[in-house]
């Protein structure tokens, strides 16, 4: 290989390396804009806790419903009035237990929001890596609605206040 040709190839390879490094640096800078610690530190742990709470609540509700059914199965129907009263009471317990559906629905909605956030971040990262840097922007600020801050959904264990505390506030 002639010295000039070798020198040209070295220059070309060097330039390609520089271009690669530049691309990596740009992608890294753009991805840095997407860094959102709240996803790992807040949203994902919260979603995990919500799923745990769903499992506990459905187990508890199932247990309550089965207990009510077992109580009805053991009724002595020789006393119809007492039997009717027990059936009525146990049916009410079943209704109360079924309220788990509302709570789990709200918890699942909360988990779904986290999944949508993860999906959005992945899309943004894909955009950053494919060089579509012009379309990248950090998560947009949403106008704050003061009432929206009060929509937190069901509390986890240890959060929120209990009915007794509320009763004292209204006493």
């Amino acid at each position: 290989m002639a010295p000039d040709e070798a020198s040209a190839r070295v220059r070309k390879l060097t330039q390609e390396c520089v271009d690669i490094v530049r691309t990596i640096l740009v992608a890294r800078r753009e991805m840095g804009k997407l860094h959102d610690p709240s996803l790992r530190e807040v949203h994902l742990p919260r979603a995990s806790e919500e799923i745990g709470a769903i499992l506990a609540l459905t187990e508890s509700a199932t247990n309550d419903i089965m207990l009510a059914a077992e109580d009805m199965m053991s009724i002595d129907f020789k006393n119809p009035e007492l039997a009717a009263e027990i059936v009525n009471d146990q049916c009410m317990k079943i209704f109360e237990a079924c309220s788990f559906q509302d709570i789990t629905g709200q918890r699942i909605s909360s988990v779904l929001k986290t999944l949508q956030l993860v999906e959005k971040k992945i899309e943004e990262l894909e955009g950053a890596w494919s060089g579509a840097s012009s379309s990248i922007r950090a998560s947009e600020e949403v106008p704050v609605d003061p009432d929206a801050a009060l929509l937190n959904g069901p509390a986890l264990d240890g959060e929120g206040i209990q009915q007794d505390d509320i009763d004292r506030l209204f006493a």
């Binding site: 709570i103 629905g105 709200q106 009432d147 937190n152 069901p154 206040i161 009915q163």
Partner: protein, 127 residues
């Protein structure tokens, strides 16, 4: 004494919850119970009928129970309607905000028939 025939409006976006509260109220002896699936439907119903009590969830779309409460309290004709919030929202700031907006009582979900009855007695009197 409480008029057990007075119309009661329950508001929740979960059909299951409407059925639960409806059945609990029926079990307690109330006979005239209407249902709405969000605040705006409830408000429209309240403008067409005088309700003796509203029992509302908080977290609904498009109009939340909190917005319904504020609308009711801002309406000259509706503002005296007893209003109980039944919700999973159990943060102190929620309870305080609801209280400041004029809610008569506040029940945390999930709740029992006994708790509902106790709050009804607090708001409506003995029955």
């Amino acid at each position: 004494m409480v008029d057990m025939k007075m119309p009661i409006l329950i508001v929740d976006d979960y059909r299951t919850m409407l059925r639960i509260v409806h059945n609990l109220l029926a079990k307690l002896g109330f006979t005239d119970i209407d249902e709405a699936s969000d605040g705006s439907q409830a408000l429209a119903m309240m403008k067409g009928r005088d309700y003796g009590l509203v029992i509302s969830d908080w977290n609904m779309q498009p109009m939340t129970g909190f917005e319904l409460l504020k609308s009711v309290r801002a309406d000259q004709h509706l503002k005296a309607t007893p209003f109980i919030m039944v919700t999973a929202e159990s943060k102190v700031e929620n309870v305080v905000a609801a209280r400041q907006a004029g809610v008569n009582n506040y029940i945390i979900k999930p709740f029992s028939a006994a708790v509902l009855k106790a709050k009804l007695k607090t708001v409506l009197g003995e029955f």
